[in-house]
């Protein structure tokens, strides 16, 4: 098994407050890993440390064997990131934005031409490709950030709550796309509040609460941690986070 995401003692403090306690985690190649936790649990901070957008207070994060702090260029070559509120250049067209992103990843011309059209079609944006992004709806923007993320064919994709603004049809197509990609070897690290989607997609789930990773395991393993009365993943999640609060 090739480990694509590896954290060792990865921690973050904001002044006296600990946002993420030392985190040890391995995510394998082709695995779909879901990161669950209540608001303010430390999910986004962890993701920002994984993507190099925030410096850890301690520990390390390796992407495909490259330390994101010491060798960020090699690590980011493998990485695709979709934030919860992606920044898009309003005064570029969809196709221009794709070309710009391709330039940032130094893609060859012919690879770009081929991938761009395919991705715009996959995410149903071909009709709006030559319109300015400022005219896009929220859902179209989200789909464009997905399309641009996959341009350079990343081996690891980190996604932070990607479902905001997507309608049920688009949620379905994005889910299918991500699932298919993981079968081809893509590693997905996704933070979400949607327990139903996590239950449906995740190979493994990690539950984080108040900066501490409480449990990691498959959906069945996580479910087995809770009492018999807890049926769905939602019940289990609520029970586990409540117990953690009571312990503290």
């Amino acid at each position: 098994m090739t480990v694509m995401i590896q954290t060792r003692g990865l921690a973050k403090r904001f002044g006296p407050k600990t946002a993420v306690q030392p985190l040890d985690l391995d995510v394998a190649e082709g695995e779909f890993f879901c990161f669950l936790g209540p608001n303010g649990a430390g999910k986004t901070t962890t993701i920002k440390m994984l993507t190099g957008l925030r410096r850890p207070s301690g520990g390390s994060a390796l992407l495909g064997g490259h330390d994101i702090q010491r060798d960020p260029i090699s690590a980011k070559q493998l990485l695709g990131y979709i934030p919860d509120h992606p920044f898009l250049y309003e005064r570029l067209t969809g196709r221009e934005l794709m070309r710009f992103v391709a330039g940032l990843y130094s893609l060859p011309e012919e690879t770009f031409e081929q991938s761009c059209d395919d991705l715009l079609e996959t995410f149903e944006l071909s009709h709006a490709a030559d319109q300015l992004v400022e005219t896009y709806s929220h859902g179209m923007r989200q789909k464009l950030s997905f399309a641009s993320c996959f341009l350079h064919q990343p081996r690891i994709v980190v996604v932070d709550e990607p479902w905001v603004g997507l309608d049920p049809k688009n949620i379905r197509s994005v889910k299918t796309y991500l699932r298919d990609k993981t079968r081809q070897g893509l590693t997905v690290f996704m933070s979400t509040h949607s327990l139903q989607i996590a239950e449906e997609l995740a190979d493994r789930i990690g539950i984080i609460h108040r900066g501490r990773l409480l449990h990691v395991g498959t959906v069945d393993e996580i479910k087995s941690l809770a009492s018999a009365a807890a049926g769905s993943l939602e019940d289990v999640f609520l029970q586990l986070t409540r117990e953690a609060e009571e312990e503290e």
């Binding site: 904001f14 002044g15 407050k17 946002a19 901070t45 920002k48 993507t51 190099g52 957008l53 925030r54 410096r55 960020p72 260029i73 090699s74 690590a75 980011k76 070559q77 990485l79 990131y81 934030p83 992606p86 920044f87 250049y89 309003e90 005064r91 570029l92 067209t93 221009e96 070309r99 710009f100 992103v101 391709a102 330039g103 940032l104 990843y105 130094s106 893609l107 060859p108 011309e109 012919e110 690879t111 770009f112 300015l132 400022e134």
Partner: protein
């Protein structure tokens, strides 16, 4: 071998960034077609008129100097006028250079650290050097267009008046880029270092009070340093051209880029191409060195500073009721609750954005320093006509600063409510109340500074009662008028999509606001001038007319202020009431 995207532009990543910027500029220019034709026409005509005005003023000024006697200097072949013009060119370049450094520090902070583009670019496999150079290009563009607009008519006028050869005009273009690059590199360098130091101080265990104390001592030392050096030009005391030449000569230093530009341009203007080339190479080599140095500094300190600034967002602010701003809220208690909340919110947003308040402090700080030193000019305080002229110039400067501040800070206030309009839209507050809140916020916050400056200036110059009252009334009226104009036009042409106030201002509406502010200042200034320069005017209209002139100036001020304040507010309110959010 396959061709990488943007490879003709050097690094494909830097090429991609520059290409995207060029596309954005192109789309932005195309979007002007969708703007109101009247607004576009007014802004275009005003811009051309402003450019022509500066050109004609400079041309006639240089013409006046060119006509001066050769014997006055008495140094043989060298004409006095040439020397004065050369020295003026040097002063102009120095003033531009200093202003560019200040503006570049502010621009670099928002471009390198505050922009949302930063996160987007840094998630890609881009080196810090490439990222920095991409952003640096933006800093140079942002900071230099205004200096090109204002500087080109002056230099063209100089070339025409001195009969400079065609190579001089080519040299203008060649000198411009390295000249604006140097302050941009210095500004970025200072910003990267300051941010790194500030975050290190924040993270250090030394008590914050100690750092504040050290900063205070440094500030006082700087003020002391400048206070000893700001001298009143000797030509004010002894108005001879010899003194002018000597005074302007103090700004010359062979270590300043402004000196290299002026000497290089003079060389090309007088046919000494060797001197021109030497100074151009000096400028280019220093520009390249400083860009390299700034890139090196960015590679070393940018990432640590940027991430630490991001971490600052996660640190808890002062406990409720204990922060400076919470204490300030106590002063707002007399206001009705919804208005109090809006004022408090606007102050907090302003205070927590150093890129905003630092400009405010900078503008008024420089002006206060100047006014505080004006007493040193004996001619200003003892000679009636110099005193009147000084008052008029001080008022004009304070009004111009006010115009730039209301345009920069007040005009975008309504637009900035954009995406959050649902919060106040659902609250029991009318749009009229919101607009008036912005208006009073502007009047209240800026009048503290403008009125203080007017009072300080009048006191320093020892004005008589009438002139003192009129100048203070003039600045109060201007504060009301420009606040109403900025809030009104900001509501008439809101940009609810943009979150960056600097970008909101850079649109056509913001430009229109500034131009109309300038027009107002010229019109109100004419009334003030009639009273303050009465000594010269009396010869034409008779001494008896003085009370009538004062009464007319006051009436003119009131009518002009009322129109400039109320008409835009009314139009803006009507526009907001029509809008759908």
């Amino acid at each position: 071998m396959s061709r990488t995207l943007f490879s003709p532009l050097g690094s494909s990543q830097l090429g991609a960034i520059l290409w995207a910027k060029q596309r954005i500029v192109r789309h932005t220019l195309a979007s002007v077609q969708r703007e109101s034709k009247l607004k576009v026409a007014f802004v275009s005509i005003s811009a051309v008129a402003l450019w022509l005005g500066i050109f004609l003023l400079s041309w006639s000024g240089f013409g006046l100097l060119g006509g001066m006697s050769e014997q006055a200097l008495g140094v043989g072949a060298l004409r006095l006028s040439d020397l004065v013009m050369a020295r003026l060119l040097s002063v102009f370049a120095l003033a531009l250079f200093v202003m560019l450094i200040f503006s570049n520090v502010l621009i670099a902070y928002s471009t390198l650290y505050r922009s949302r583009e930063v996160t987007h670019q840094l998630q890609s496999p881009i080196t810090t050097a490439t990222f920095f150079l991409g952003r640096f290009y933006e800093c140079v563009t942002f900071s230099s267009w205004a200096s090109a607009f204002l500087g080109s008519p002056v230099l063209l006028a100089y070339g025409l008046e001195t009969g400079a050869p065609p190579v001089f005009y080519l040299a203008l273009v060649a000198f411009y880029l390295p000249f604006v690059t140097i302050p941009a590199a210095l500004g970025s360098l200072i910003t990267v270092i300051v941010v790194r130091v500030v975050v290190a101080v924040k993270g250090s265990r030394l008590h914050r009070g100690v750092w504040l104390g050290l900063a205070g001592v440094l500030l006082l030392a700087l003020l002391g340093f400048f206070r000893g050096r700001i001298e009143v030009p000797s030509f004010v005391e002894t108005p001879s051209l010899q003194a002018v030449v000597e005074t302007l000569g103090r700004t010359q230093s062979p270590f300043l880029p402004s000196f290299w530009v002026s000497q290089g341009l003079l060389g090309t203007a007088t046919g000494d191409l060797g001197a021109g080339l030497f100074h151009w190479l000096l400028l280019v080599s220093n520009a390249l060195f400083l860009v390299w140095l700034a890139t090196l500094a960015a590679e070393r300190w940018f990432y640590a500073g940027w991430t630490a600034l991001g971490d600052g967002a996660g640190v808890r602010r002062a406990r409720n009721g204990r922060g400076i701003l919470d204490r300030f809220d106590a002063f707002l208690r007399p206001l009705p609750p919804p208005v109090r909340s809006l004022v408090s919110k606007d102050f907090k947003l302003f205070w927590r954005d150093p890129a905003q308040w630092s400009q405010f402090v900078l503008f008024f700080g420089i002006m206060a320093l100047y006014v505080a030193n004006i007493r040193g000019a004996r001619s200003f305080t003892h000679d009636e006509s110099w005193r009147a002229l000084g008052t008029l110039l001080n008022l004009g400067a304070a009004m111009l600063i006010l115009a730039s501040l209301t345009t920069r800070f007040i005009y975008p206030l309504v637009s900035l409510e954009g995406r959050r309009f649902w919060i106040i839209g659902l609250a029991p507050v009318t749009l009229r109340q919101i607009m008036w809140q912005k208006f009073w916020l502007s009047v209240g916050s800026t009048s503290v500074f403008t009125v203080s400056l007017a009072v300080l200036s009048g006191w320093q110059l020892g004005l008589d009662r009438t002139a003192f009252a009129l100048s203070v009334a003039g600045i109060v009226a201007t504060t009301f008028a420009l606040s109403g104009l900025a809030v009104g036009l900001g509501s008439l042409y809101p940009n609810f999509e943009e979150e960056n106030p600097a970008r909101i201002v850079s649109g056509l509406g913001g430009t229109l606001n500034f131009l109309l502010s300038m027009l107002f200042i010229a019109l109100i200034g004419a009334g003030q001038a009639a009273v303050l320069l009465w000594g010269r005017l009396a010869a034409f209209v008779g001494e008896d007319a003085y009370p009538w002139v004062v009464a007319t100036a006051v009436a003119w001020m009131i009518v002009l202020t009322a129109v400039t304040c109320l008409v835009p507010l009314r139009l803006g309110l009507a526009n907001l009431e029509r809008a759908e959010f």
